[in-house]
């Protein structure tokens, strides 16, 4: 019996130790995915915890037709989408501004010209991904961070593979443009030797 099967068995029997092992194994992976999707550490931590709570409580719903990691990832993505939807409704109903934008407005960084060394040093790939629309961000994160193929992404998101392919193509194009505008690629190539 491999470790995943042991964890599954333990979870089905309600063992706390199995829940601990599950979090040790996939916790950081789920949290990092949520951080990339939500752009907010606090929300990401909430989503990651909720993902494991739901997984432990609903383990009987896991049919075993895919990996446990994929099932956790699907739950996390579903929760992230819910968060984003609620945030969008809140902004719409209560006329609130984007929290990240508000923070940036209150604590502006000193202006630097785009493409300069300082600008590149300050720029992170994570931030650039965060600037993409949510539907693009989702496929980019799954493709690059989770190293998933388009067919797997399509299965996970429940969307046709063609849709995912074209979305990924557009998302990649936008990301590449952002990075090239900032000279990111050039800078990293120099740093990498």
């Amino acid at each position: 019996m491999d470790e995943e099967s042991r964890i599954l068995e333990g979870l089905r029997q309600g063992e706390a130790e199995a829940a601990g092992l599950l979090m040790d194994r996939y916790g950081s992976d789920i949290l990092r995915t949520a951080v990339l999707l939500l752009k907010d550490r606090q929300w990401a931590e909430d989503v990651a915890q909720e993902t494991f709570l739901l997984a432990c409580r609903r383990i009987h719903q896991f049919r075993g037709d895919g990996s446990l990691r994929g099932w956790l990832l699907r739950t996390a993505i579903h929760l992230c989408r819910g968060r984003m939807r609620r945030a969008a409704w809140k902004r719409l109903l209560f006329n609130l501004s984007d929290e990240a934008a508000e923070h940036e407005a209150l604590h502006p960084l000193p202006a630097v010209s785009p493409g300069s060394t300082e600008w590149v040093n300050r720029m992170t790939l994570r931030d650039e991904i965060g600037k993409l629309p949510y539907k693009y961000r989702e496929v980019i994160v799954l493709h690059y961070f989770q190293d998933m193929r388009t067919s797997d992404i399509a299965g996970l998101l429940g969307e046709p593979e063609g849709t995912v392919k074209s979305r990924l193509k557009r998302a990649r194009g936008q990301l590449k443009q952002h990075l090239e505008d900032g000279g990111w690629e050039h800078e990293r190539t120099i740093q990498g030797g």
Binding site: A19, S28, R32, V35, R41, A44, E185
Partner: protein, 109 residues
């Protein structure tokens, strides 16, 4: 194709490096384990009330006084009609002006 693969790998590596410090801490793990404890006190449990349920409850709370008020108004109207005294008919004759009931009483005698 090879160039794109190189770019993709570069992005993957960069993302991994940037997110290295983001870890699912022991505190987060403890929170989850505490929430899973079977004998957890009711007051410590986190409950989620779906939005439609909240909306329904609010509508119900608002509807009760409105319905009560409407019912009270309709009852008041009925009572007013019920309590209205029988209007006296006035009979005008050559002998004068009389109430109908007065003439009836006189006739009975």
């Amino acid at each position: 194709m090879n160039e794109r693969f190189k770019e993709d790998e570069q992005i993957r590596n960069e993302l991994r490096t940037e997110l290295e410090h983001v870890v699912f801490s022991g505190k987060l793990k403890q929170n989850v384990l505490e929430s899973l404890e079977p004998g957890r006190s009711f007051w410590k449990k986190e409950i989620v009330i779906p939005l439609p349920v909240i909306a329904f409850a609010l509508i119900l709370i608002a509807a009760i006084p409105v319905a009560g008020w409407r019912h009270a108004v309709s009852l008041q109207g009925e009572t007013a009609i019920a309590e209205r005294p029988n209007e006296e008919k006035i009979v005008v004759s050559a002998a004068g002006v009389f109430y109908e009931s007065q003439l009836k009483r006189e006739g009975d005698r």
